[in-house]
């Protein structure tokens, strides 16, 4: 599932540079998204990984123009969707793109689905609202799409209501709603968090299959590193609103260049540790935006920190000897102790 196993299209379908969003809380102005950039080509998946407060969800909302306008606003950067800058579009133009060119799948299927409308109606809605198809055509498309996503008993199920469906089914309906307009890009916000692991596997396989068939570009927002490993082409790691690492999936997982990435990967590496012994754990807590440390936001928890980390905010830069980009003073100078995660893994299966 990496880039080299597929044909990459020439131009990126989504190109984000220097995205910056400001948030007003009381008198303070915070930046939950501060300088985010990445490239997405057709048929690829870019995973945005982070914990709470990392800004990954806000990034998605910023790109989709779905920020709560009274308190949050995009204040910098560009987001080119096939050449058009999403951040410069007026609300009307943006509305026309949503669901048709670029789709957003929110986190919780329970609250995202309207309990008063049938699932058939909700799945057809994007086509009807954008006047892309007649009622009959939309109906046909809905049946076809829901069928390929594994919804049984079609076309009868179209008259079902969300509360009659299980969690996994609701997630598929939500997926259908986002895909029916045949968008070029899908931004999926934590699509696997609220479902069981066996259902999660089904959802990921579905995304993978759809991607192969339609060359859909997926921006996957998640905190689950396992899911990222399964499906991502490229990985963007966020911390306190900033990018800390960006690179090809395999590279980031096997040769992480940023101490935070390393820490995360080691924390979930159960195979590399003897059972019932201490796990590797990062010190401290994820940061509060209102309380950001000076310099590198990660330095309070970093075992490698030096003085410059407290004073200067590290820029995203290339790392000698690696294809990835990293926002770490030490990594940029190539002085971070060599530590390959795969070296920790004992080959026992």
């Amino acid at each position: 599932m990496t880039a080299d196993s597929r044909e990459a299209d020439g131009q990126p379908v989504l190109e984000v540079r220097g995205l910056r969003t400001a948030l007003h809380i009381g008198a303070a102005e915070l930046y939950p998204v501060d300088g985010v950039g990445f490239e997405l080509r057709s048929g690829e998946t870019v995973a945005i990984v982070g914990e709470s407060g990392s800004g990954k969800s806000m990034t998605a909302l910023s790109l989709m123009g779905l920020l709560p306008s009274r308190v949050a606003k995009v204040v910098g950067g560009t987001a080119l969707l096939e050449g058009r800058d999403l951040l410069r579009l007026n609300p009307k133009a943006m509305r026309e793109l949503r669901g048709v060119e670029i789709s957003y799948m929110p986190q919780d299927p329970v609250s995202a689905l309207n309990p008063a409308l049938t699932i058939g109606r909700q799945v057809m809605e994007p086509l009807l609202v954008h006047r892309k198809a007649s009622r009959d055509e939309a109906h046909g498309r809905a049946v076809e799409l829901l069928g390929s996503l594994g919804i049984p008993n079609l076309p009868a199920s179209l008259s079902a209501y969300p509360h009659q469906l299980s969690g996994g089914m609701r997630q598929r309906v939500l997926l259908a709603m986002t895909l029916i307009g045949r968008p070029k890009v899908l931004i999926a916000d934590e699509p696997t968090t609220s479902v069981d692991v066996t259902t999660q596997e089904q959802i990921i396989d579905l995304l993978w299959a759809i991607q192969r068939e339609t060359q859909l570009g997926i921006v996957l927002i998640t905190h689950d590193l396992g899911v990222v490993a399964r499906i991502a082409t490229r990985v963007l790691v966020m911390y306190a609103g900033r990018v800390v690492e960006y690179g090809e999936a395999e590279e980031v997982f096997e040769r992480p260049t940023h101490p935070y990435t390393r820490g995360l990967l080691r924390s979930v590496d159960f195979d590399g540790v003897e059972p019932r012994t201490r796990l590797f754990a990062l010190d401290g807590n994820p940061p509060q935006l209102a309380d950001l440390s000076s310099g590198c936001a990660f330095h309070p928890r970093c075992e490698y920190r030096v003085q410059v980390c407290l004073d200067v905010v590290p820029q995203v830069a290339s790392v000698p000897g690696s294809q990835s980009l990293s926002a770490c003073h030490l990594a940029a100078q190539g002085v971070l102790p060599r530590l390959s995660v795969s070296e920790l893994v004992t080959e026992n299966d």
Binding site: L23, I25, P32, S52, G53, L61, R70, V71, Q107, Q288
Partner: protein, 296 residues
């Protein structure tokens, strides 16, 4: 969808007054004005001498129905009694009855509500059917019938109105208890071995204060209206004891030549209701735990 750190702001374009009334400053204004009004009334009820040296029952036979003047601030009534004194002394009867009604009604209601919320389905069903029975009667009419049956006097009014009052509290409390019963901190308390009493006291009441406070302050006004209503028809405090409802009733006959006899008791009732409501608004949100921003 939006970050939990983002609170939803007021809608743009909401009327200025509506917006102000939800602001911090308005709360403080309400609290102060409300407290002052309530304090004044309470003092009038407890120690009317503070406001007037006149005897409310003293007859100035030579001077009936006289206009408000420096001698008699609110004039005199048909029997020549100083009306200001009548109104001020009236606070005792009117307010005592109202407060008692709400206190007793709330006490019984909370008790029934808690029992209903905690007990099994059968007990709950029975209690709620009783509540429904009471709620199906128009409150004032029921109180009227009860008070009349119990005989004249303040005690009958208090008993009658309390009986009418408790069911809605029972319903409110039961609803809150049922909702809170399954919260994780209540489960945790159960798992620690806490009994129902402790759970209600420490783990439910704090969550109920805000709604209870809103209800009680509102009710103090409604109760007075009902008490005065019963007083109007001759139940409750008996002459010559002044009570705003009965004052209204007797004053009605002199609307043409003694307007102050109806205006001021009515004003008293209105002011009390307003003051108590303001106090309620002012106190809302000052419950402990307001400053607990949930960080994640």
């Amino acid at each position: 969808m939006a970050s939990s750190a983002v609170g939803l702001p007021m809608r743009r374009g909401a009327p200025v007054l509506a917006r102000w009334s939800q602001s911090e400053r308005s709360r403080r204004v309400f609290l102060i004005v409300g407290s002052v009004i309530v304090a004044v009334f309470v003092i009038a009820a407890i120690a009317p001498q503070v406001f007037t040296s006149q005897n409310p029952n003293a007859l100035y036979a030579a001077n009936p129905l006289s206009l408000p003047s420096t001698q008699h601030w609110l004039g005199t009534d048909e029997l020549g009694r100083d009306f200001f004194a009548r109104v001020v002394y009236g606070a005792r009867a009117s307010l005592t009855m109202s407060v008692l009604v709400v206190a007793i009604g709330a006490a019984i209601g909370v008790l029934v509500g808690v029992v209903s919320g905690f007990a099994g389905r059968r007990v709950d069903d029975v209690l709620m059917r009783v509540v429904d029975l009471f709620l199906s009667f128009p409150g004032f009419v029921l109180a009227l019938a009860l008070a009349a049956a119990l005989g004249r006097g303040e005690r009958s009014v208090v008993i009658a109105l309390s009986i009418v009052w408790w069911p809605s509290y029972a319903r409110l409390i039961r609803g809150m208890v049922l909702g809170l019963k399954h919260r994780l901190h209540v489960e945790s308390a159960r798992a620690l071995g806490a009994g129902p009493l402790r759970i209600v006291r420490k783990h439910m009441l704090p969550f109920m204060w805000e709604q209870l406070n809103a209800r009680v302050t509102q009710d103090l006004g409604y109760a007075l209206v009902n008490v005065a209503g019963l007083g109007f028809v001759g139940l409750g405090a008996q002459p010559p004891t002044p009570e705003w409802g009965s004052l209204l009733e007797s004053g009605l006959q002199y609307v043409a030549n003694g307007w102050w006899l109806t205006v001021f008791p009515g004003l008293a009732i209105t002011l009390w209701t307003l003051g108590v409501a303001m106090l309620g608004d002012g106190m809302a949100g000052f419950a402990r735990g307001e400053g607990n921003v949930h960080r994640r």
